[in-house]
């Protein structure tokens, strides 16, 4: 059995609910293999764009390194791209992490932190131009459900994070386990990273 990996989920005000909890459902089904930590700038519970608040377990200033980073999108990314604390933390973590993943406009945060320079990546199709402007050196893919480039997995908007997280689970635990998880969640997994019905 592979080692248990810790996932650091970055929360910020107005994060998008499904960007976080779609992937966490999939990782959470494989609870033998993944431990989930909710991380934010302060210990205060963080309100999503939709309203419901999530409890924070660890803050950026705690000396914890995560095996896998999960960076959600949401309206809050428009503000967080100018938040030095989150960008510094992402840089610090990303270099040591085994995998770095983002959903929706979470890739704009990674891009702004300089972590996507020369990397093939994607983002929400409704905010593509803004995302692109955050990472002029990123090799943006305009038609992709998700993109895997080395250790970096970026996905398209919102529900695409579920397909991407299953691809990351497949990479780590193999295709049979990923299929089993999708089936347990009664989820019809789009396994083709290039099938993007929402691209223009």
């Amino acid at each position: 059995m592979s080692k248990k990996r810790t996932i650091g989920v970055v929360l910020f005000p107005e994060f998008e609910l499904l960007d976080v909890f779609g992937p966490l459902e999939m990782f959470g089904i494989a609870s033998d293999s993944f431990h989930i930590n909710m991380v934010a700038q302060s210990k205060e519970a963080v309100a999503s764009r939709q309203g419901p608040k999530s409890v924070v377990e660890h803050t950026f200033d705690e000396p914890i390194f995560y095996d896998i980073l999960l960076v959600p999108g949401g309206q809050g990314t428009r503000r967080e791209v100018d938040n030095k604390a989150i960008l510094d933390w992402l840089r610090l973590q990303a270099h040591r992490a085994e995998y770095v993943s983002s959903v929706c406009t979470g890739s704009a945060l990674l891009a702004k932190a300089g972590l996507l320079d020369g990397v093939r990546a994607t983002t929400n199709k409704r905010s593509l131009d803004w995302g692109v402007s955050m990472g002029p050196k990123t090799l943006w893919q305009r038609r992709a459900r998700w993109v895997e480039d080395g250790k970096i997995f970026t996905s398209s908007g919102i529900s695409a994070g579920i397909d991407m997280s299953l691809a990351l689970i497949q990479k780590i635990l193999g295709p049979e386990k990923a299929q089993e998880i999708a089936k347990r969640a009664e989820y019809s997994w789009n396994q083709d990273a290039n099938h993007d019905p929402f691209a223009k």
Copy 2:
């Protein structure tokens, strides 16, 4: 424009993450039409089966009635079917609510509360026999992505709640709005309630 409806989301320890946050993503995109409230027996934050905790806004003893109930499933339902407080609250709310919805084994809670007697309903396909045992007078549908019977919408396991919530949104706001929301979430909506690839 239709009135703004309040959704009461019932939380209990070991609720399933996506059962709650899949539907809330969809309702939350139509934030002009829906307001979300997280409700539980006490004010303490509630841990999901996967670990992450959600903040509670209101408790069962507050005199608030909700237009729409959302009852998730998860491992915790095995314990909650014997919790008089939640069953009483569901009965009290369900009679006044405009719509009552459940995801996964959430329907076992509705059944145990007697709210599904003579009602066509479905549940998680992996826990079907247990769900059925909680509601001997329920007209259980063994092959259904979700079931609509009058004001009661029940869905199959976990991700089926997303399809069901879009069907409920369609009922309230019309098909164009439901399609627009699915598209915004970059979600390929299974619009056919009878298409259930996870039934045996």
